[in-house]
Symmetry: C2
Subunit: 241 residues, 2 copies
DNA sequence: CGACGCCTTGAACGATGTCAACGTGCGTGG
DNA sequence: CCACGCACGTTGACATCGTTCAAGGCGTCG
């Protein structure tokens, strides 16, 4: 029976990897079962509380990670404390800066986060040996670059209202990548302060823009974290599209 | 004699490639002379006036390019005309978005620019065949991502004065990558409007900040395009470091 | 010389930041 | 169970920075 063959085949892949999204859409998809097994010998799973720091901005790291679930925020800070979130990462993104000692950004769990971590040198050996893995990494890096540039337009040229709408849209599309409906309800993965740091605004401005959108009927705020968007098209317009 | 051997060896590499920076610091450094020769059969050199568009934002491209000299600006535009420059590229950067039909950004010559172009499918075959080439691409993409994230901090959190200082610093360091002196003189590769579009400001604000820095003695404006920085350290402070 | 492109300067306005008060939910300890 | 403190968010009044609109300067080219 087909099912059985599939089961047998599955049993080659390490237990921990079986249900892992990274094996499908993430970088581990480039690996054969036996390579996965070899890698998994050096991997360790961790579960992180919101707020836990994974990577320090000017520290060197000795490990890379795959995000299994949750949201990680990447941020930069100036000497006087001003902060900017420069990216959000979701499962099954790869976390870490290959080929460079220093990270340049800090990574912190925004929500509860599960990760699968590997020693730096193991990954780097794998990358050197397996062009397919490097290809996956290139694809992800290019996608991150696209997103960073989209966000630069948001930061540099949009109004506060458009910024907040853009943020909601970003979360909505990441939470439900292939949603076809007009309406969605979702949970914000971060606080007002974090949202402000992502948008280059203050917490107060974010709050005001949210209540404005609520009064205008573009969103419905269930509670501080839960947001309902009855019409994604209208939200899109608010975001400047 | 060593010189002779070197000359003989050099004669293997295509004439056009011999003096090209991309063979050293750029992606072509991953290629052997015979591969370079093969690639050069499909390459064409072009010289572009300032303002020439190389790539359209939502067009598909059929060729990639290496920048041989000059500065290329990458930008995004909103439906109502607001524009944001999301990156500057210098020699010997690689230009184009691999593995995706649409570009997502438009590329325009900021200064006079020389490029070396290749048909899309040729490059993509080369990438597939040569892990070393893909590695170079990954390195450049990671570097671009680092720069994009640095700039996000600038766009989101810096004041107008800090933004303009950051821009001058960026140009100064790219024009003279390994300058050790305190002082430099250089030519701005773009107009006030472009600078404003890069910094998320208006032309007027850029102008005001420049005259303020001139009055404060941080810079000396030789003419509209030529700027002298007597003390890079002081400029650095102005940029928020 | 005049027209044009590019830049600078000034004055008034408006969006966003700042500072401070207040609200709300939640856990903790009396 | 209530009272309290604390974290987080909202709202208001005012200040500030950057934009907008308008005028004028400067160099170049016909």
């Amino acid at each position: 029976m087909d099912m059985q063959r599939k089961d047998v085949h599955n049993s080659d892949t390490p237990v921990l990897c079986r249900a892992c999204e990274s094996r499908h859409r993430g970088v581990c998809g480039a690996l054969l079962p036996e390579q996965l097994l070899q890698l998994s010998k050096h991997s360790s799973r961790r579960e992180l509380e919101p707020g836990t720091e994974l990577i320090g901005e000017s520290t060197t790291t000795t490990s890379y990670s795959n995000i299994i679930s949750g949201v990680v925020k990447l941020s930069k800070m100036m000497a006087d404390g001003r902060q900017q979130i420069v990216g959000l990462q979701f499962a099954p993104d790869f976390l870490g800066r290959p080929f460079r000692a220093e990270n340049g950004v800090s990574a912190e769990a925004a929500t509860g986060v599960k990760v699968c971590s590997f020693p730096k040198h193991v990954i780097e050996r794998f990358i050197g040996d397996m062009p397919e893995l490097e290809h996956k990494l290139l694809e992800q890096t290019l996608a991150e670059l696209d997103e960073a540039r989209d966000w630069m337009l948001t930061l540099g040229r949009k109004t506060a209202g458009e910024k907040v709408a853009s943020f909601l849209l970003l979360i909505a599309t990441h939470a439900f990548p292939d949603n076809e409906e007009d309406s969605v309800t979702f949970e914000l993965p971060m606080s007002r302060v974090d949202i402000a740091d992502f948008l280059g605004l203050t917490m107060e401005t974010v709050s005001r823009q949210l209540t404005k959108m609520r009064k205008d009927g573009v969103i419905h705020i269930v509670n501080n974290r839960q947001v309902e968007v009855p019409d994604l098209g209208r939200l899109s317009e608010r975001a400047g599209f």
